[in-house]
Amino acid sequence: MTVTLFVPRDSTSLALGAEAVARALMVEAERRGQSIQVVRNGSRGMFWLEPLVEVATPEGRLAFGPVSAADVPGLFDAGFLNGGEHRLGLGPTEEIPYLKSQERLTFARVGRTDPLSLDDYLANDGYRGLRRALNLSGASIVGEVAESGLRGRGGAAFPTGIKWQTVLETRADRKYVVCNADEGDSGTFSDRMVMEGDPFLLIEGMTIAGLAVGAAEGLIYVRSEYPHAARALSQAIAVAEGSGYLGHDILGSGKSFRLAVRKAAGAYICGEETALLESLEGKRGIVRAKPPLPAIHGLFGRPTIVNNVISLASVPVILDRGAGFYRDYGIGRSRGSLAFQLAGNIRRGGLVEKAFGLTLRELLYDFGGGAASGRPIRAVQVGGPLGAYLSEAEFDTPLDYEAFAAIGGMLGHGGIVVFDDTVDMAHQARFAMEFCAIESCGKCTPCRIGSIRGVEVIDRIVAGSDRPAQVPLLRELCDVMQSGSLCAMGGLTPGPVLSALDRFPEDFGPKSALFPAGRGV
């Protein structure tokens, strides 16, 4: 009897050796005369267990991991295809606590299906959202998304429904749906996991967006550092076109939507929506002043939806299950779920999709199991390179947009980078300025020049040279960057810098020198 095995094609799994494992499984099965079928699925998002091999059994899928090619003969010896015990055995995949305690709305299929199989997608609730949307007016679709409470998952958390409403109401000969897949923030990989692990989901979300606002063309701007994601999307688009789910006259509805992948070229700033539009137009990725909003004057001057991958990928479940279903998850004004990403120095790193409202501590310790090094967690950066560094005192903050804003942080896209107690926070503050200097588009002087001056001032503080004057100077510089930059690059870089200085002043030198009498914190 042919046994079905699953070995992820997710690029992190590949980076950890999944390709060699898949080959070893086939070679070993052949050698033993055992008939197997290896499905290359997406990742379940438990990266400390990758490469994770699953065996389909009548009682459900059984997991083994992390498996190396060298483990494969031993797995066969142990009879792993027939429920045999092995030291890498993890039991039923869905019962692994990390996975079982999640609320996977957007990531419901990722890791379970073959990403490029349309049949698999359809058999697992795929394209139900689109089928419903095809019978609704644009205004009703927009109303449903607004009602769900969905906010931009790329980081800015702007209400998606309001953005769509603006595009819907703006008259034009042509409109666009642009997906921002320039996932450049360190500590984030949820966009990548969707593109590689469930590309039809993003395609479906963008198609619904097109129907909602009357746009017949969509572009996915994928970073050049993600070649696997770009390939998976291109292949899935071809399949969807060939099956009537994309292109002219979608499913006989008379409505059309065309989709293409466009490759970015390694500029972090192009994750900013107006720089992204410039780049798609074939120009340098220079930030545009707003207004006009891209929703009114976007790509090639036309009304344009610019949404992040996860925002668009959350739309199908909202249309399928209804706005109320999605809205019932979450707290306060943060509705639905967020795909948190546990990264950096963390024992159990990976993707945790949960309703808003759990605390950072639960994520770091209950899911993450503390630092990978076994040392205490000292600092956590939430929301990407422009997010604040948080200390232990803030770990009980609920994961909610407003609660994070209230402590001077930013929940952003839910990327969480963990550092243990060996981290030098002055070094991290310097890196934030250096990163801004390298990646600034150059339009605003406070960002372009201020970041270079910032590196120099931090160097002087750390060297102990004229600290009493340099610390106020750094704060003043940060103030100029915050209020004198058009976009978040210059405007938010002071976040990690000042949070490191305020929360970890001991790393910048003796406290008395940092905060001279009378200044306080």
Binding site: A15, L16, D185, Y226, H228, R262, L342
Partner: protein
């Protein structure tokens, strides 16, 4: 996939221009196509692209130099991108970077003396739970130790095909 530097050939440039010039916002697709074919964007391409897209040469040059991805000169046979972003830093990327520079005998944006490997920094490859990460051409590697780095790069440098 290796990025073999071929001598500048007008054929590659013209073919790339012809393939994309009618797309809206054609400049980046053309530049990608040229670099995929030739390993870099030669200076000879600039006036040809400018003429085809009705742009000034300065505009084309400005775009090539704005994006980190585009090379103006041939690189090594292979490109190693080492991640230096925060999540990899938290897992020891800085020590790996120092080791890599010493092992390869070149700095970031440099190429080994034997012309095999160009070393480039990258800010995030999306393997943030499993760092330090790197990419050899388009092949991802995570959890990279110094020993693993040496094994992978030495295999490239002793690959007999590099003299093809």
């Amino acid at each position: 996939m290796s990025t073999t530097p071929n001598p500048p050939s007008d054929d590659g440039i013209s073919a790339a221009i012809a393939a994309h010039r009618d797309e809206p916002g054609a400049l980046l697709p053309i530049l990608h196509d040229i670099q995929d074919r030739m390993g870099y964007v030669p200076a000879e391409a600039v006036p040809l692209i400018a003429a085809a897209l009705n742009l000034s040469r300065a505009e084309v040059h400005g775009v090539i130099t704005f994006y980190h991805h585009f090379r103006q000169h041939p690189g090594g046979r292979h490109t190693v991108h080492l991640c230096r972003a925060e999540a990899c830093q938290a897992r020891g990327a800085e020590a790996l970077i120092a080791h890599a520079k010493a092992e390869l005998g070149c700095d970031f944006h440099g190429t080994t003396a034997d012309g095999t490997i160009s070393l480039e920094p990258v800010f995030c490859l999306g393997h943030c739970a499993s760092g330090p990460s790197m990419m050899i051409d388009e092949e991802p590697h995570a959890g990279v130790t110094s020993a693993r780095f040496d094994a992978l790069t030495r295999a490239l440098r002793t690959d007999p095909r590099r003299h093809e």
